[in-house]
């Protein structure tokens, strides 16, 4: 910085340019560079354009300072010092008089405050001492101690001369008394008691000198009129201003406001005018870092908005605040090395300060640091739905010309919408004296809040839409509950994703459905094989034992049964006990309702082409294999009565229509969640019923496939390979899924592909139609030869198909590529043998497949998919514990950001990840926000107030039931909203106070009586919040 501080070598323009370049950082002025010398470290080098900052070392800590009325002399006082300094405009500081010199040393020590008299007492200096004395010095007599007034028994903290009559002096003392002195009289003329603690500060109102303000140790500030006198006198106004002592009070130049600063680290601006006394809230509050020692208004006429503050301890800086920007200081001076003890504005651009570091400093405001300039004016924040917001503040253009008579124009940026104020303010040539009678603008400027000039840009990214996320979150199966099987879950998820236009996701689920089917089957086989081996060993060794033999026989029987049906007598298949009952159903019977619904379910994931082109043995056997798997796990569904199925049929029609609708428009509209209430399960069941008889021709195929089981190894391999290709086909021809969904009702015509397509895919263009057909044919032709062969046409088909869905193209291809790679790998593997071990080696076994999937989705940042996969397949497949934790945590967080508390609670409940679970178990506090203004209830913490305790595990998560006792206990703490200043409880329906349990909606934070809410939501079947906030609570 020293390179810049020899301004006389540059011309003024160059200096200005340099200053502009280094901006507000020009803090160290030339005159104070280097360590302060002992006596006269004056600033004789300061040039016309240079900073007028100057410092003077007094070598003892200074407590207070006061200026002479002509602003040329300043008296500084400390415990051991009382000196008058002469300060010239350019910052030359010379010691003028040492007032202690000619006086008795005993009486002049321990000065806590000093004041220079005014008008009638220009030549008088008064000091307040900690021993209770007030000493008056007469400068006309060479600074001799004129008199000592001792009436206060304890330390005198502050004195002030009356600006209207300089002979009147007021003192405030530790004993809580304030005394009015007339220097012409011997004793105090009046003693005022504020009924409070020690008086820390007193100040007369410069405009109306009969009023003075006092600040007290107990946090109150008072306004007095000293002339009233007598014994009946009392304060005019009293405000509990601060929490903790108030150390400083200063009248605004307009005489209506005061600024008070206290130990609670705040500066508050109060309306101290004549108006009503009921308004006891601060007009402005400035929060600072440390206890405020002094606070004084910058003298800029009656509309000044700036306050200079210094801290009591810990912070040595002097900050000038604009009350409209209460969080960032406007100017900062960092000259002192110890706490600043006194502040005084010489004029509007010059600030004098003294400090316990023994220095007296003159600060030049034009060279102050502007903290606001070192801050970032722009910010970016993400919204939960992937949109983000950018806020940019305008920086002021650097001032073109720097002249000492032109103010440093920083406030233009701050005045913002309020317009420019500078025309009303006189120039800086001298001290601006407030003129009585013209102070009208102060209220406007003080009352208005700062409105920043900032540009706000909200950017919505198309990569993530909240609607599908929300619907999927609500409808996806994340945990297998009741008799829901994994396959069903996959199918349901697939369908939900499909309806929402998330075709890739839907295909993923369908593939998963297939693969998990094989996986389970393979595991069953493995289990059987092991069982068999065990049984063999057992029968060998225990042949002679009748009991064992019998049991072995039993096992064999069961085994045979299950191998016939490929039903799970294994732990993986859920209803193990039901296997025997299942058997009869599986036998090929022409009776329609006995058809396992799983069969139909399976159709969901099969392309209609496969069916349409041929009801060939290949397709059928695939189908059949699947049927067997499904059937073994779908006992309860079969047990349903035909009537129930009929009902389901009715239900199923609706969603189908919807599918059509969305497919036609090829875009997603917000879907109501109730639309999805008809699950795929019911849909398929209904179709099953509908197709019943017509479906019969396929049933023998099932039998065929079962018959394959005799030569199990071979058959499994055969149809597994084919199944794979079919599975891929179904995945690739994703758009045709819609056909298959719609075509349930037309199953009788399955054998005839042409009419089927004509009728069901009206909305599909012919080209696509053709492709499908071709593809199906290709598929059929190649299916028998090489399992991987059908893939290529399928891939082609996909690409052409996906042109329709541009937004999906890349992703689908990417995924398709993965699959292709996988299949290539597969091609190199010689297929032989069977069983679980074999399955494990296959590249598309569940483990590998899920690893690829989760890698893929986590790369794309789709935590929803990853988390759902982890939840559903966590039992079957091993996931990396940490990654799984991340996904689920992220998903829960995302759900909560979308206010989807129900799915979030379900996820937390379903997950096996320990820390997520434990979080839900321990953290049963929710933070409430106010239903009126939506502001969070901030008064929480401490003694248990601030949050209602809920049990996340057991309650219906939509309705949060705050405990009545907790509410009562935290009556003032939690349910009182501080921003809108009302209680947030009470019933929104009957507007009565709620006694007992208060039930609220977590989404909109409105609540009320249980009965009222039940009447509204349950009996009247309303969906929206009765408060009229527009929130769909149910």
């Amino acid at each position: 910085m020293d390179a810049f501080v020899a301004p006389q070598h540059f011309n003024s323009r160059a200096v200005g340019a340099v200053r502009r370049f280094i901006g507000g950082a020009t803090s160290r002025p030339s005159t104070s560079a280097g360590p302060p010398s002992l006596a006269h470290s004056t600033s004789n080098l300061s040039s016309f354009h240079g900073s007028r900052t100057a410092r003077y070392d007094l070598q003892v800590p200074i407590q207070s300072l006061s200026a002479s009325p002509d602003q040329e002399l300043v008296v500084v006082a400390g415990r051991e010092v009382l000196k008058i300094l002469r300060v010239t405009f350019h910052g030359e500081i010379r010691e003028s008089v040492d007032l202690r010199a000619g006086n008795a040393p005993g009486k002049t020590v321990a000065n806590s405050d000093v004041k220079w008299g005014c008008n009638f007492s220009k030549d008088v200096i008064a000091t307040a001492n900690t021993n209770g004395n007030i000493c008056v010095y007469d400068l006309n007599r060479g600074g001799k101690l004129d008199r000592v007034m001792h009436e206060h028994q304890r330390s005198v903290h502050k004195i002030a001369f009356n600006p209207g009559n300089g002979k009147i002096l007021i003192s405030g003392s530790q004993d809580g008394m304030m005394k009015i002195w007339d220097l012409r009289q011997k004793k105090s003329t009046m003693t005022l008691w504020g009924k409070s603690d020690a008086v820390r500060d007193v100040q007369f109102n410069a405009l109306n000198a009969v009023h003075f303000a006092a600040a007290f140790d107990n946090g109150t500030i008072q306004k007095w009129e000293w002339r009233m006198g007598g014994t009946a006198h009392s304060y005019l106004k009293k405000i509990s201003a601060h929490n903790g002592p108030v150390f400083s009070i200063d009248w605004h130049p307009d005489g209506k406001y005061v600024a008070s600063g206290g130990r609670d680290k705040t500066v508050k601006v109060w309306d101290f005018g004549e108006g009503d006394t009921q308004n006891k809230r601060p007009v402005h509050t400035i929060s600072t870092m440390a206890a405020i020692g002094r606070a004084t208004w910058r003298p800029r006429g009656v509309s000044t908005r700036e306050i200079a503050t210094c801290a009591m301890t810990h912070d040595n800086r002097i900050t000038v605040w604009d009350i409209k920007r209460p969080f960032v200081g406007k100017y900062a001076f960092d000259e002192h090395t110890n706490a600043t003890s006194g502040l005084l504005w010489k004029d509007e651009n010059t600030l004098w300060s003294c400090s316990k570091d023994q220095m007296f400093v003159q600060h030049d405001l034009s060279y102050a640091v502007n903290p606001i300039n070192s801050l970032n004016h722009s910010a970016v924040a993400w919204a939960p739905n992937m949109s983000f917001i950018v806020v940019m503040g305008q920086r002021p253009p650097p001032p073109a010309k720097r002249d000492r008579n032109v103010r440093f124009e920083m406030d233009d940026e701050i005045s913002g919408g309020g317009g420019r104020k500078k025309s009303s303010i006189s120039a800086a040539a001298g001290r601006v004296h407030p003129k009585i009678g013209t102070q009208q603008s102060g209220i406007d400027t003080l009352g208005a809040k700062y409105v920043p000039q900032q540009a706000v840009v909200e950017v919505a990214l198309p990569m993530f839409s909240g609607v599908p996320f929300t619907v999927m979150a609500n409808n996806w199966v994340t945990s297998l509950s009741g008799d829901m099987t994994l396959s069903q879950a996959c199918k349901k998820n697939a369908e939900t994703a499909w309806i929402l236009g998330q075709y890739r996701t839907a295909q993923t689920w369908k593939m998963l459905d297939l693969i998990q089917g094989w996986e389970i089957e393979a595991r069953q086989e493995e289990e059987e094989r092991l069982n068999k081996e065990a049984e063999m060993a057992a029968s060998k060794s225990h042949l002679e034992s009748g009991i064992f033999a019998k049991r072995a026989l039993g096992v064999t029987n069961t085994d045979r049964k299950s191998s016939n049906g490929s039903a799970g007598a294994t732990p993986l298949a859920k209803p193990v006990a039901d296997t025997p009952q299942l058997q009869p159903i599986l036998t090929p019977t022409p009776k329609a309702p006995t058809n396992p619904p799983g069969n139909i379910d399976e159709n969901l994931s099969l392309p209609p082409k496969a069916f349409g082109a041929s009801v060939s043995s290949s397709t059928a056997s695939t189908d059949g294999g699947e049927i067997l798997n499904m059937a073994s796990r779908r006992v309860s569904v079969i047990a349903r009565s035909p009537q129930a199925i009929d009902e389901n049929k009715e239900l199923s029609l609706k969603p189908l229509d919807h599918h059509h609708h969305h497919e036609n428009e090829d875009k997603i509209t917000p879907l109501r969640s109730d639309m999805f209430s008809a699950t795929p399960e019911t849909t398929s069941r209904g179709n099953n019923e509908k197709n019943g008889g017509a479906y019969d021709p396929e049933v023998p195929d099932v039998a065929v496939s079962s018959s394959f089981d005799k030569d199990r190894d071979k058959a499994t391999l055969a149809y597994r390979g084919r199944q794979y290709s079919i599975g891929l086909t179904s995945e690739q021809t994703s758009s045709s899924y819609d056909d298959s969904t719609n075509s349930f009702g037309h199953r009788p015509r399955l054998g005839n592909s042409r009419p089927f397509h004509k009728e069901t895919s009206d909305d599909e263009d012919d080209d696509n139609h053709h492709h499908n057909h071709n593809n199906a044919r290709h598929h059929n032709q190649t299916a028998h030869h090489n399992p991987s062969a059908p893939l290529n046409p399928a891939m082609r088909n996909t690409s052409s198909h996906n042109l329709k869905h541009q937004h999906q193209l890349n992703t689908a291809e990417a995924l398709g590529k993965d699959i292709q790679d996988m299949v290539k790998d597969y091609g190199t593997i010689k297929l032989s043998g069977s069983g679980y071990g074999r399955m494990k080696e296959l590249p598309w076994n569940l483990q590998n497949f899920l690893t690829i999937l989760t890698d893929y989705y986590s790369d794309r940042g789709e935590v929803q998919m990853c988390a759902t996969l982890a939840l559903l397949f966590g039992d079957l497949v091993e996931f990396d514990e940490r990654r799984m934790g991340d996904w689920i945590e992220g998903y829960v967080e995302q759900l909560q950001r979308f206010k989807l508390y129900v799915p979030a609670a379900e996820v937390i409940k379903a997950t096996t990840v320990e820390h997520v679970r434990s979080q839900a178990l321990t953290n049963t506090f929710i933070h409430l926000s106010c239903g009126n203004c939506n502001a969070p209830m901030m008064s929480g913490g401490g003694g248990g107030g601030g949050a209602a305790s809920i049990n996340t595990a057991s309650l219906d998560p939509t309705i949060v039931q705050g405990d009545a006792d907790a509410r009562k206990a935290s009556y003032k703490g939690s349910l009182y909203c501080e921003s809108c200043r009302r209680m947030a409880d009470g019933c929104m329906l009957c507007h009565q106070i709620v006694r007992g349990r208060w039930t609220m909606c977590q989404g909109c934070c409105h609540g009320g009586h249980d009965d009222c809410l039940r009447g509204w939501y349950v009996d009247s079947k309303m969906k929206q919040c009765p408060s009229g906030c527009g929130h769909d609570c149910v």
Binding site: G219, P245, A291, G942
Partner: protein
């Protein structure tokens, strides 16, 4: 002459008083260590002044008394049983007084209480209001109590503790205080009791505010306060001390301080310092003999110093990293002087010791005078 050799001797060191707050059975030899005499009563033989702790039930009266006078950790006050009868706790310190902890459910205005006797020796009434609860009922009771006090003994200081403010935000604290003050003022004006002076304190047992409030309450009961303060002022200005506290060691409330403003951090570090010194004394301190045995506690946190000080009373110095020095000096067995000063000021250690000694003697005279 070590302490271990005569464990049965009475000792009046700080830690002794920590462990056994009951008054000494007999005075030690009064000739030399006269400051270590028994408790100072303002009027010899007069009953102890009372501090009445009143308020609604569950407002935190017993917690306050446990935290301040029994050093109970604030978190454990949760498990305090509710008080069922008036708990009279004698506090033996630099000045003897009794704390009467009233059960919240007692209505002492129903005529069965002898209010005259109750209030006659009372120094201060501390009325505790739970700021986190509904306080209208509490205010009604407060107003009744004030009225009764005005009838029987108007000299009682009325102190209202707006308690449990730790759970409230800063703005809300002040709002609550304003509300309470306003309501009380209005109510008293209606009763015709305009002139009653009530002090309000925002308190919480989780920070220093309860100690500060209690300090102020106790200070008001001290007629010598002004003198003590002036003495401290003199000491502070002559030794270039930043801040000096005269602490009651037992309760960690400060009896007096110089007139410069008390800031929170200074108070807290001094109060923690007392804890440290007491803990150290418990471990390393030994019974001081009757007369001559002097101990020096030299606790150094950052800068080591090998000098050994021999002073007639316990003293301790702690040098802080930020260039400040904490200086503790035992004044008598209840009081300790703690000074915060800069390192440079502490260089003249001899001067400080001398000044403190003078201060101690002055204090002695002040208390003698009142005896």
């Amino acid at each position: 002459m070590t302490g271990g050799s005569r464990p049965q001797k009475l000792n009046y060191s700080l830690e002794r008083w920590m462990q056994d707050p009951s008054p000494p059975l007999q005075s030690p030899t009064p000739s030399k260590v006269s400051m270590q005499n028994g408790p100072i009563s303002r009027v010899r033989g007069a009953p102890r002044p009372r501090l009445l702790l009143q308020g609604q039930r569950r407002s935190g009266k017993s917690s306050i008394s446990s935290v301040v006078f029994h050093k109970m950790p604030p978190t454990e006050t949760l498990f305090l049983e509710s008080t069922t009868r008036i708990q009279k706790e004698p506090v033996n310190s630099f000045m003897d007084f009794q704390v009467w902890d009233f059960p919240g459910q007692i209505d002492y205005n129903d005529g069965t209480f002898d209010l005259e006797a109750l209030f006659s020796d009372t120094g201060a009434l501390i009325y505790v209001i739970d700021a986190q609860d509904e306080y209208l009922e509490a205010l009604t009771r407060l107003h009744q109590t004030i009225e009764a006090i005005q009838r029987h003994n108007p000299a009682i200081n009325i102190e209202v503790f707006i308690h449990k403010v730790d759970g409230l935000s800063d703005d809300f604290k002040l709002d609550t205080q304003r509300d309470i003050v306003q309501r009380t003022t209005d109510e008293l004006a209606d009763m015709g009791l305009d002139g009653v002076h009530i002090n309000y304190h925002l308190t919480s047992i989780y920070d220093h505010s309860i100690f500060e409030a209690f300090s102020k309450v106790i200070q008001k009961l001290l007629p010598e306060l002004g003198t003590l303060e002036n003495l401290l002022n003199g000491l502070v200005s002559n030794c270039r001390i930043e801040k000096a506290f005269l602490f009651d060691v037992l309760s960690k409330i400060y009896v007096a301080t110089d007139s410069s403003p008390v800031d929170v951090q200074s108070y807290e570090i001094c109060s923690d310092y007392i804890d440290v010194v007491l803990d150290m004394t418990e471990i390393y301190g030994y019974d001081r003999g009757e007369l001559e045995v002097n101990t020096v506690e030299e606790t150094k946190s950052s800068v080591g110093s090998s000098e050994d000080w021999s002073l007639p009373d316990q003293s301790s110095v702690m040098k802080l990293q930020n260039g400040m020095v904490l200086f503790l000096r035992e004044i008598n067995k209840f009081l300790a002087l703690i000074c915060i000063m800069r390192k440079e000021s502490f260089e003249k250690r001899g001067l400080i010791d001398y000044n403190v000694q003078v201060f101690q003697q002055a204090l002695e005279k002040v208390f003698e005078l009142h005896r």
